[in-house]
Amino acid sequence: MLARVAETLYWMARYMERAENMARLINVNANLILDIPKKTVLGWEPLIDITGTRENYEEKYHSFEERQVMKYLISDADSPVSIANSLKWARENARTVRDVIPREAWEQINGLNHYAKDQLNVAMSKRGRFSYLNEIILRSQTIVGLLSGTVNRDQGYLFIRMGRNLERADMTSRIIDVRSANLLTEESMELRPFENIQWMSVLKSLTAYQMYRQAMQARIRRADVVKFLFQSQRFPRSILFCVQQMERCVQELPDFENSLRRIHQAKRLIQGAELHAYDQGMLHDFIDHIQIELNNIHEALNDQYFLSGRIYGQEQEQKQAS
């Protein structure tokens, strides 16, 4: 497999996953806002921090009013985190490797991109937004299923899976972060009654509610939900699960030692965390730490397998030789 093609498949999967999870992220915040008493909510501003692009946002937008933030997260082509932008890049990457992926997969990715663009009016209305975002999620899931049901289990598929799982782990951590950001005033008695309902909405936004119930057989309790979403060995959107998927994939590739070392490091961090003892602030820091580890895994893959990393490495060798 060409190093450039491996890289492109990996990014195609990452952008697809990013678009889907951005839709989930917006849905979870919208639900939280509806549930929490008006005067205590932080509104939409925390979402900008969670995407890590506040500077970028403030260059162009001057308030954190719902419409502005929605525009930035859904339709703005210049926004690095918007659904429109992720889908555009997913499509560009898919177009670059359309000779490699099944034709139907390309047609679906292409079609999703058209849908997202054509239905922007719907997306921007309060009423239409939920169904629009759900359609994005559903179609993304269709593409995941299509790839899983039609692609040879070769290196290309390994890179698709690694891109998807890396992005999914990262985005799940961000979705949990929405909750912690909205609850800086956690100790206030005012919010207590709403706590469970809010964690339920986080679970639902990750399509995790039923699975949580089945796996944990517990009421919705913060400590259990956090444990489930970080450390479940069974739920495919839990961070540990995603990292373990990558652990498996990478060992089927040549020269995997460096990347595997990075993956193990992330895995130890997740498994070792005493989550029940974390307050919201600690949880937030922990999430930051996980995101850094995930990025390290990306860097290791890039250096070892991708064209940009390869060419850079070769240039360094030549410099040393001369």
Binding site: M1, L2, A3, R4, V5, A6, E92, R95, T96, V97, R98, D99, V100, R103, W106, E107, N110, G111, H114, Q155, L253, P254, Y305, L307, R310, I311
Partner: protein, 483 residues
Amino acid sequence: MSVSWNEYDPGKFFDELIKTKGKPRKYAKNLAKYLADHSDEELETRKAVAELSIKEMGITFTVYTEEEGSIDRSWPFDILPRMIPKSEWDQIEKGLKQRVHALNLFINDIYHDQKIIKDKIFPKELLANSVNFRKECVGVSPPLNIWAHICGSDLVRDSDGTMYVLEDNLRVPSGVSYMLENRSVMKRVFPELFESYNIQPVDDYCSQLFDMLASLSPRPADYPEVVVLTPGIFNSAYFEHSYLAQQMGCELVEGRDLVVQDDDCVYMRTVEGLQRVDVIYRRIDDLFLDPEAFHPDSMLGVPGLMRAWKKGNVALANAPGAGVADDKVVYAFVPEIIKYYLGEEVLLPNVPTYRCMFQDEQDYVLSHLDELVVKPANESGGYGMMIGPMASKKEREKFAQLIKKDPRNYIAQPTLGLSTVPTFVDHGVEPRHVDLRPFILSGDNTSVTMGGLTRVALRKGSLVVNSSQGGGSKDTWIVEEEA
């Protein structure tokens, strides 16, 4: 209301389907009846199906705009097919094979002994002026001595029904993927017509292309490593590059994926490390292939590629330098070239071409400037051209001067009345002008596509079939006539 052939008027042009008002050609009768029997609404629905399929299938071509940079647009397509009877096509196919065979002998001769020049058939000065002659290729013997492995020749039909070759594209001809995609769209749109007609299939092009490319491999193997080299996603034909790689099941590579090592072999950078490449179907122009040999600042090519090719360690299709045979002055000599190498008369005629370098032909051109199209030899895409009947007196005088100053650089041809095909327009069906680009593959044997890509000028009266300038395309049916 439905399509009414009594109101369809091809005028003075040759129409490929309708002979005269209300009279379809014999092989088009079923189609004409089918269209007349269906309502406008029904046909509009079919049209919508085609447009949706094209959008969903992502059949695109890339255009550049000032505001948006490079964007890919859906491929403009007309659902009414162009038809050619099989008996006529068989003759055209023979003519194309003869032509490409002779052109390959010509190119090989030009880069070796230049016998055709020594025998004074082909003027030496023309070669000196050719922008597509590559001195780097002199003395090189590519596999099977074939240089132009893939040729796309443009055919046009004049008002009297004669099919002419307008030009041969021997560098990186494109369009074949659209020919294949048009057919798959048509099968979705008019499945029932495929039942009532005996339409020759076009689907085997990609496997023929792969076999031809594999036959060039320097290392004998069942599955030589064949790759398609593209300039990248911003190229207007990227869709096609990707399509062909996919259909052949080979890697689509960019210049940066390849590297020539000290052993003068070409390798691609894979996840596992370097892997040897045997055959490159390159869709990059000669001058961008190798920054060591040509443009030093080319980012698209592969340093050392020419070195590897000259040593015979990798095959390039088409071979660098093959373009020497596709300038307009060489074109004018094709009948002589065929006669010289094959001892045969030309089967598929050239458009009559006057070569200004010969005094008698120049005299004719200068006294008939108002009827002729004058073209410079080494420009393409219609640059620096004069269309006599539409030119002002001043323009004609300017060209007369240009011709006298540099007669070798100019040829002239009569203006042709391109044939038409019924085409969907806003209100019903009207004739629109078309051309045809078949593709000829030359390797250990020669094959020609069944038909080719029919391009259509969608604007009324226009002769410009180019997709970036309001052109579209049609499916081309080679049909067996029923006895």
